[in-house]
Amino acid sequence: MTATVMTADDIRRAVTRIAHEILERDKGAADVVLVGIADRGDDLARRLAAEVSRIERAEVPVGVLDITFYRDDIGLRAEAPEVHETRIAFDVSGKVVVLVDDVLYTGRTIRSAMDALMDLGRPRKIQLAVLVDRGHRELPIRADFVGKNVPTSRDDNVRVQVQEVDGSDAVTVRRVGDGEEGA
């Protein structure tokens, strides 16, 4: 069975709140840059940037980071993981980089993302914003900004849909044993 844990309105409010929290934590938008992890993290990063700009009347640079080449499971899957594009048109050195992703799970993606960022420069700080934290970390990583904590079992399938890719906004959890194909 599938349960909706966040509606489009919930997502909108969470993005607005996280934007406020970033500004509060980092004392304004100076030196703050947002880097979304492809795919879907980049769409959320753009929305956060728009909110931050609206609240603070300051432009916040947004980049897209592909972490495929930094994954720890290359060669362990039947097909090589699909590669997306990295587009970061600014220097991350000395900046407060807020990594943005849709779901925080094992923490391995974030580990890869930090390695990838370090190869691009030397950020002053790296923070992490996620829409959903579903638990089950395998590495000592935590998020600085969380849209919603969703308790799950390891077999559950958490799916984030965003307007830009999927045509609508929602977060759903599919419990095990319903016989449907996982996303």
């Binding site: 080449f69 930094y70 290359i74 060669g75 090589a80 990295t86 587009r87 390695d115 691009l120």
Partner: protein, 309 residues
């Protein structure tokens, strides 16, 4: 994707898209200050170059190093091959040393295929005799797609010594796979009789084609393979089939001038033509590294049957 890259016959249109898209991401890596990613850390790539080649070997070496793989260069001179070791024994030695991929260049057509029967490693053909050179074809396809935004329906002339050119064969097959219109142009003695089975046109008149081309691809006159006299003189060849300034001026404004290198300036291409903006010969070299990174990544990044043994 197959387990090996031996021939453009094995590469589907969907494979071409995947390889070119992946190469696009690696192009971006090549623009960074740190041009290296850890994707193939701990893997071993052997460059087995039993026929002389500096450009292709350096390109593969750089590609593997930018993926953090360990690279071993093995060439004919000064190695056990010079002492009379057979290809099979060389292959088994590399296998015993744990090579994950073998990039092979050999003067005998078909030797990469033979190699796959002896080793578990992924085999990449970097040019075998007068047979094929698939990585060159793929980097050329990348360059054409980048500049024209498409491959389907592109009008491409491949001009010169088609007979001895593994580049011409691989590129023709690749272009036909993606739906381009290919015409082979050259003296009749240098067009292989079986070319008609490749799905391409053949012409002996370059001037007639020039104004309609999207890509004018010049092949190197392979003097080292000219054991027989295929044409009366270099001067006559240059006059009939060379890309002179006058001919280049007749090309459409958007047309590309390409050459796999190394060039014989003044023979198949005039020196000032090679240096004009329509010529993308240097970009082909840059794209070559990205294409080879993509191929190594796609082949080694999956659990192929080759690792199961």
């Amino acid at each position: 994707m197959n387990e090996h890259l031996l021939s453009m016959h094995d590469v589907t249109a969907a494979d071409v898209t995947r390889i070119l898209d992946t190469a696009g991401s690696f192009r971006e890596v090549g623009t960074r200050v740190i041009k290296k990613v850890p994707a193939l850390r701990g893997r071993t790539v052997v460059n087995l170059f039993l026929e002389n080649s500096t450009r292709t070997r350096i390109s593969f070496e750089l590609a593997a190093k930018r993926l953090s793989a360990d690279v071993i260069n093995f060439s004919a001179g000064g190695s056990s091959v010079a002492k009379g070791e057979s290809l099979k024994d060389t292959a088994l030695t590399l296998q015993a040393m744990g090579a994950d991929a073998i990039v092979v260049r050999h003067s005998s057509s078909g030797s990469p295929l033979q190699l796959t029967r002896w080793v578990d490693a992924h085999v990449l053909n970097a040019g075998d005799g007068t047979h094929e050179h698939p990585t060159q074809a793929l980097l050329d396809l990348y360059t054409m797609r980048e500049k024209h935004g498409r491959l389907d329906g592109l009008r491409v002339a491949i001009v010169g010594d088609v007979l001895h050119s593994r580049v011409a064969r691989s590129l023709s097959i690749g272009l036909v796979t993606v739906g381009a219109e290919v015409t082979l142009v050259g003296p009749p003695t240098l067009i292989p009789p079986e070319a008609s089975t490749w799905g391409v046109q053949v012409s002996y008149d370059l001037d007639e084609l020039i104004p309609k081309l999207d890509v004018c691809y010049m092949l190197r006159v392979q003097r080292e393979r000219q054991r027989l006299e295929y044409f009366p003189s270099m001067r006559e060849y240059a006059r009939l089939f060379g890309l002179t300034s006058e001919r280049a001026a007749m090309l459409p404004e958007t047309a590309l001038i390409m050459h796999p290198g190394p060039m014989n300036r003044g023979v198949e291409i005039d020196s000032d033509v090679a240096d004009q903006p329509a010529s993308v010969i240097e970009e082909q070299v840059t794209n070559g590294i990205a294409i080879r990174m993509a191929l190594l990544y796609l082949l080694l990044g999956a659990t192929g049957a080759g690792e199961a043994a």
